[in-house]
Amino acid sequence: MSGLPATPASSVPVLALGDVLLVTLQGELHDATAEQLQDHISHRIAHHPVPVGGVVIDISGVEIVDSFLGRILAEIAANARLLATRTVVAGMRPAVAITLVELGLTLPGLVTALDVDRALSLLGRGPGSAAPAHPEGDA
């Protein structure tokens, strides 16, 4: 729905880091912005000049994840998977993790990492990517 041109000002920027898309979420996220982001990422994966090697969503700046945002994150990962791309959610805060678990959302399909560095090495990119100890396939 956002069309081809640049996304509106209120939206979340999606940076290309080599063949990896890096999304940094921060502070308050309106529902509409989150939904927009979901479309935008699918669009970027589908139209990227080179095949996208992975999507990293940094949520270290996010103070709460409710079931709505949880669903959006899960759907971004599911959509990416359909487009043959892996998604890693990085930097979830302890309080957010405890709350999500209590809420009943363990998001089993989601691959997670402590921070963006770890996420990149999990995707086989970035420094110290020698041996990804946990390819997500072995779960």
Binding site: A90, G91, M92, R93, P94, V96, A97, I98, L100, V101, E102, T106, L107, L110, T112, A113, L114, D115, R118, A119, A131, A133, H134
Partner: protein, 298 residues
Amino acid sequence: MQVAEHDTADGVAKELGGFLERRREQIAQRWADAPLFRTVFTVSRDEAVEACKAVVDALADVARSGRLEDVQAPGFAAVRDQLGRMAASRTQAGFSSSQIAGEVAGLREPTLTLLRAEFEDSSSEHLEACLLALTVLMGTLRLVVMETSVSAGEELIARQQLQLLEVATPVIKLWEGIVAVPLIGTLDSARSQVVMESLLEAIVDQRARYAILDITGVPTVDSLVAQHLMKTVAAARLMGAECIVSGIRPAIAQTIVHLGIDLGTIITRAGLADALAYALTEQGIVVSQGPAQGGSPR
């Protein structure tokens, strides 16, 4: 003369109120040196004097309302918070509530002296009545303070219990990227909560990829605690770390199975050492015996 009015209890109470109002400054000056005020209001003597005045005002208010024996008299409401803080501060300094009550009782004497001086010329019966009224009022103040000091003590105990919980669950770094909590003793819901929070915090602080929950020292696990363990594992996973539960004793394993809780998705190891070995291997770290030990490679 005004004798008729003076000798009704209400009249005496009103007169006492008037006395407290007139002698506010002198009473406050004398009280300010008492340990109860001096050790609590330490910024300046003026601060202590002001605090004393607030209490004198409250007493005058109570006296005027004629409710000398009423702990719930509205006059006390204005200073209840202040008295609570004073009691709490004395409690923290190690005083028991009866010692604090004793300190409050100590405020009576200087006030009685002033009252005697003021009513020097009255009839002795009248003086007696006023002294008695003041004694009753000071007794009531003592009760009010005792009440607040008891609740201040409870608050202190609650806070200490919380601190004890945190002390009793240390999270230790075993290796680069590996943290562990050795749990000892009974796990209840409150402690499980503290364990979960401190372990997850440690994961962030130490950038730990592996977190070991060692329950070798835990005698029993009920369903609530088992659920807490599961939640901790799930939360760690959401943060990008892997949790390993070690030291599940046979009796506990049986309980867990009996409770119908599925540990299938959780990595478990027999002991802390096995859990550490697992975490090291997963990170590609090989620990070998030094050459001095000789020995044959296995």
